[in-house]
């Protein structure tokens, strides 16, 4: 079977010819039926109107000069009752005056008598094309309307003046405004969340070339004490052909259940963390106290064994906290508060934090920040974690006296942050693997480097949850470059707090 374009329906256009001249009626029927149209005939205006009232016609060919009811009267009646029906005038008096008058009254086109079959065909085909386009638009509208209205997410579309073009029932219900239609209203007149009004306004101002979506959380408890729902709101601007924003789609999503699960997961994580870390901490300290000789003399042999035990427990405890970090980050990623951040500042802080370790290994730490770095919209602790992990890795996997460079600069719609070292590097076949959980590069060089294999997995999931991406370039023996791309916060000028 050959592929065919998808047709919603096999539609045969219906045409009515109203003319008192039998010759014309029959000529029309023969020509049009040849083209596959369904053609019906009427001998005068009254009969024509009866048929029109009984059936839908796509096109009506109408003679202007008829006894009893004139073509103009029929035209008026049709336009009054069926404004979408296309009427083509047939007139023996091919005067401009009549034709112009008929067109003014809503006729689509006119054919002067006498006409050739080709002339008729072309005119009718043009009219059919016109009705088909209208039908397609109306079908598409109907499909979209039904789709949007049946969504369990709230959807609203506003135009460039922040007037409502469309709002589905879910949206109205979430906004607590069910009875009246809001189409045509300005958002300030009915939208009850100030934060959302501000965000729609912002979305409209955004540069269409950057990644453009704003999101926030709305806690309904702050509007009504007994409402415990939490909504996630997203605003996406849409563009015209020139790429200019002409309106905003706002989507509301009830995340109450997700938030509850998130909370349960967090509580679980914190309980487990306490239950696991608590005893391990106690054991570590007991070992330490014994090792320090506070509980009596310790022989060299005992000291050696206890030291190894302490090391094992320390790394176990480290692994437990990283595992919990991962669980925590994954649970927090569902939705979290983000703020406008100055990455340059964070880079400086993190570098200062890790400088002692770098100096211990005699590494040179170089920071290069582009002037006037644009802000990003992100979770502060997460971004600190990304940088911290990458810097720690660079320090750990570079033999002494290395050079570690941290660069932050603009890269189109992204902020690019690179952590580059001249250390041992990563083999090609391992470059993808290093982002997997628990994966660690194992060779002679890395044998004595402690780690859990979770750092880069955490980094990757954080970066991706911020709509960013991370890449790795490396040449074994020469070093590695981790490049993190994070979307730039779209509005440079206004300092607006998006979060509570």
């Amino acid at each position: 079977m050959s592929a065919q374009p998808v047709k919603i329906s096999q539609y045969v256009p219906k045409i009515l010819v109203i003319d008192d001249e039998k010759r014309i009626r029959n000529a029309c029927r023969i020509v049009l039926e040849e083209n596959g149209y369904n053609v019906l005939l009427a001998t005068n205006g009254r009969q024509g109107l009866e048929q029109i009232n009984a059936n839908h016609f796509d096109i009506i060919l109408l003679d202007l000069m008829m006894p009893a009811l004139s073509g103009f009267e029929v035209l008026t009646a049709i336009k009054k009752k069926h404004p979408d029906t296309v009427v083509i005038i047939i007139t023996g008096y091919a005067t401009l005056e009549y034709s112009v008058e008929a067109m003014k009254q809503g006729a689509f086109d006119f054919i002067p008598k006498p006409f050739t079959p080709d002339h008729l065909r072309v005119t009718v085909a043009k009219a059919i094309e016109h009705t088909r386009t209208l039908r397609d638009i109306s079908d598409a509208h109907s499909r979209i309307r039904t789709m949007v209205n049946s969504l369990t997410d709230g959807v609203m579309c506003t135009n460039h003046q922040n007037h409502v073009v469309l709002a589905n029932p879910t949206f109205l219900r979430m906004n607590g405004y069910i009875t009246k239609s809001v189409v045509g209203c300005h958002i300030k007149d009915f939208l009850k969340f100030p934060k959302l009004r501000e965000m729609i306004h912002q979305a409209l101002q955004m540069d269409g070339r950057t990644y453009s979506e704003l999101s926030t959380e709305i806690d309904l408890a702050s509007y009504s004490a007994d409402d415990h729902r939490v909504l996630n709101a997203r605003c996406l601007p849409f563009k015209d052909r020139e790429g200019k924003n002409i309106g905003v789609i706002t989507v509301l999503n009830d995340i109450t259940a997700l938030k509850q699960m998130d909370r349960m997961k967090s509580d679980f994580v914190s309980t487990v963390s306490h239950e696991i870390q608590g005893p391990m901490t106690a054991v570590m300290m007991q070992l330490k106290v014994i090792l320090d000789g506070l509980a009596g003399e310790v022989t060299a042999k005992q000291k050696k064994m206890l030291s190894r035990a302490l090391d094992k427990i320390s790394s176990l405890s480290g692994m437990a906290s990283e595992l919990l970090d991962l669980a925590r980050i994954e649970s927090g990623l569902i939705s979290q508060e983000r703020e406008r951040l100055d990455l340059g500042q964070i880079v400086k802080e993190q570098v200062a934090l890790h400088l002692p370790k770098a100096q211990e290994a005699n590494h040179e730490l170089i920071v290069r920040l582009e002037d006037d770095l644009p802000p990003i919209l992100a979770h502060r602790r997460n971004i600190e974690e990304v940088l911290s992990n990458l810097i720690i890795n660079a320090i750990k996997y570079t033999p002494g006296q290395g050079r570690i460079r941290i660069v932050a600069e603009r890269s189109e719609a992204y902020l690019l942050m690179c952590v580059e070292d001249n250390g041992m590097g990563i083999q090609e076949d391992q470059r993808k693997q290093v982002f997997k959980r628990f994966y660690r590069v194992k060779n002679k060089q890395t044998r004595f480097i402690h780690g859990t294999g979770l750092g880069l997995a955490i980094v990757k999931s954080i970066v991706e949850s911020h709509q960013g991406h991370i890449t790795l370039q490396s040449e074994p023996g020469k070093g590695a470059v981790f490049s993190v791309f994070l979307p730039i916060f779209p509005i440079d000028e206004k300092k607006i707090e998006l979060n509570r």
Partner: protein, 128 residues
């Protein structure tokens, strides 16, 4: 040479309290021990310590509550408080985080697992 400074160690895990105490004693501090917030407050009323090493998650009265009470009281607000926090920070909705620790009136905080040498350094710095 002044009298030895008094440090109150509060944690619901006796093993932990014992280890910290032994280390502190070896550093020439006097040590008092308590195993929950209520007991700790009674000890403080009995003899005012110079510094309290205070766990956060404890039965009866947790570390935050006790810290808050002491810091807002007239008599005890000058006692140095070092909080021990067990939970990874920034967990979206939990109560016991480093961030919460930072927002309390405590003078310092140290995450678990505790590095004893680091804890000694902090104690020493505050009591200098």
């Amino acid at each position: 040479m002044t009298d030895k400074q008094l440090i109150l160690v509060v944690d619901d895990d006796p093993d932990l309290v014992e280890s910290i105490s032994m280390k502190l004693e070896s550093q020439n501090y006097r040590v008092d021990k308590a195993y929950d917030g209520v007991e700790a407050f009674a000890h403080i009323q009995n003899e005012k310590p110079d510094l309290v090493i205070l766990d956060v998650m404890m039965p009866r009265k947790n570390g935050y509550q006790l810290c808050d009470e002491l810091k807002k009281s007239g008599n005890y607000s000058d006692i140095v408080i070092v909080l021990l926090t067990a939970v990874a920070d920034a967990v979206a909705s939990t109560n016991y985080t480093h961030l919460d620790g930072k927002s309390t009136l405590a003078d310092d905080y140290i995450p678990k697992p505790i590095d004893l040498d680091n804890l000694m350094q902090i104690v020493h710095d505050h009591l200098e």
